[in-house]
């Protein structure tokens, strides 16, 4: 985000702002203060961020404001979900104090995207106080979502290319609709709660799954792997973030380590919206003692939630190391979150994420053999090793090398929340 001079941050472009409907409203009606020529007096009791008050925008924009108050951008409910699930009610007040110092600044108001740069990254008017209907990506979206999404999408991680959509000049709002960003129609507890939006299918509906004519898509269908499993590349994983305050009360954090990695784990959020058996998982920076500055044992139920979580890396490529050949993935444990990649103290938390090992190539397929879409010679089982017309009483294994009881159709797991609850 380019730096702004102090004057530029508060400069109103008279020529263009006079055409903005909002210019009909008195400054003091939203900002408070006084319309006088004394600078100090004028700014006394002035509200720099009037959109913090829902009434400011909501009194006119009744079609969007009420819903946006329930959006994750406004509620930051994802933080509460992540903390409270690992804690107990008696610890919530302390955790709320911690959040007030370290998290709440990320609350986003209408004005933080449509009028100014987000307050959490320093603010400053976007366009001379004009209302900007589609917030500029680099000044708003990636100003906050900078450490992972921005670096991945823009290709700022050294040695890793930018996202193919970025190279095709697509911005965040090309996929993330206004309704999604405003949270219209949903009340979410976390990022992957509810409808899977945006979805790759929205644009690529003819290129996904059986019938797409794309060999690997024909073979894998739509319920085995998330799109990112084959089309994203290494992404940032963080470990052991701790938050503290200086002696002067300035909050800060330190991440013990972070590195680039790519891991396929089990989908703990498997359901109708996200049916995939395997998904990309990212290590989130939480640790048992992340908040020990504020109190002891604030996360006594740490194992209630995984530390390796469903991730949707923003570094999509058509060709990736794992989709080069069949055995780039099949039999390649390096791509999968096997138990040896999870520290012992976190294995219980990730029991539903850890993979036994990479699935082996199905019978009849050899390493580096080009994938064929024709049915395998053995017509008693389908491509996944499951019986078709006349099941046999013996056990077989599915495509992923896991035993499948014969005569028992594969049961679609009941939708669960992200934490298996």
């Amino acid at each position: 985000m380019p730096p702004m001079a102090a004057w530029e941050r508060v400069w109103i472009d008279a020529e263009t702002y006079s055409q903005d409907l909002h210019s009909l409203i008195n400054c003091t009606q939203c900002h408070g203060g006084q319309a006088v020529n004394d600078m100090t007096l004028a700014h006394t009791d002035m509200n720099e961020r009037p959109a913090q008050n829902a009434e400011t925008c909501g009194s006119c924009h009744t079609d969007v404001t009420p819903a946006s108050l329930n959006s994750l951008h406004s509620t930051l409910a994802g933080y509460d979900t992540a903390l409270y699930e690992r804690s107990v009610p008696e610890n919530h007040p302390v955790l709320e104090d911690m959040e007030a110092s370290h998290c709440n600044e990320c609350h986003t108001t209408c004005g933080d995207c449509h009028i100014s740069q987000p307050f959490s990254v320093g603010g400053g008017l976007l366009d001379g106080h004009n209302y900007v209907e589609t917030p500029p990506m680099s000044q708003t979206c990636t100003a906050c979502h900078g450490s992972r999404v921005k670096n991945e999408y823009f290709g700022l991680n050294e040695g890793f290319p930018s996202d193919v959509h970025f190279r095709n000049r697509m911005s965040c709002s090309d996929c993330h609709t206004a309704d999604e960003i405003h949270g219209i129609g949903i009340t979410a507890d976390h990022r992957y709660d509810g409808v899977a939006e945006p979805s790759c299918e929205s644009c690529h509906q003819d290129e996904i799954g059986v019938g797409s004519g794309i060999e690997q898509h024909e073979i894998h269908g739509t319920e085995i792997l998330s799109c990112q499993s084959c089309h994203s590349i290494e992404y940032t994983n963080c470990t052991n973030c701790h938050v503290e305050q200086t002696d002067d009360g300035v909050p800060f954090f330190s991440v013990e380590s972070h590195d680039m990695g790519f891991y396929l784990g089990r989908n703990d959020l498997q359901g109708a919206e996200r049916p995939y058996r395997y998904v990309t998982v990212r290590h989130v920076p939480i640790d048992r003692d992340s908040f020990s500055f504020y109190g002891d044992n604030l996360l006594p139920n740490f194992d209630n939630r995984p530390t390796w979580m469903l991730a949707t890396p923003h570094n999509i490529q058509r060709n990736t190391p794992q989709n080069a050949t069949c055995d780039s993935c099949h039999g390649n444990d390096a791509l999968f979150l096997t138990i040896d990649k999870v520290v012992e103290s976190e294995r219980a938390a990730n029991i539903n994420i850890i993979v036994d090992g990479a699935p082996l190539l199905p019978a009849g397929y050899e390493s580096a053999t080009p994938i064929e879409t024709e049915s395998p010679a053995d017509t008693s089982t389908d491509f996944w090793g499951e019986p078709v017309a006349t099941p046999t009483p013996t056990e077989s294994s599915d495509f992923w090398g896991e035993p499948v009881p014969q005569n028992t159709p594969e049961v679609t797991p009941e939708p669960t929340d992200f934490w298996g609850g």
Binding site: V10, N26, M39, H129, R148, V250
Partner: protein, 80 residues
Amino acid sequence: MKSLYSLLFFVIGIILIGAGILTQAVGVVYATPPRQASQTASVVPPFTDNACLECHINRETLQVLAVEEEVVASISEGPG
């Protein structure tokens, strides 16, 4: 024959006029209701805050008066 055509046109005209009146009477039913204006009807008082604008639209004034905030180096470590 001519009078027959005249009668036919007269009848068609009556039917069309009748249909028009009927449409007006029952109103038009939209397949989807027209979008409600997001703005609530409210009286916006006349703009009087010129004192604010006098400064905030003036680059030169702002360049003199706006104070650069001291940039405090973050002591946080690692991706946020």
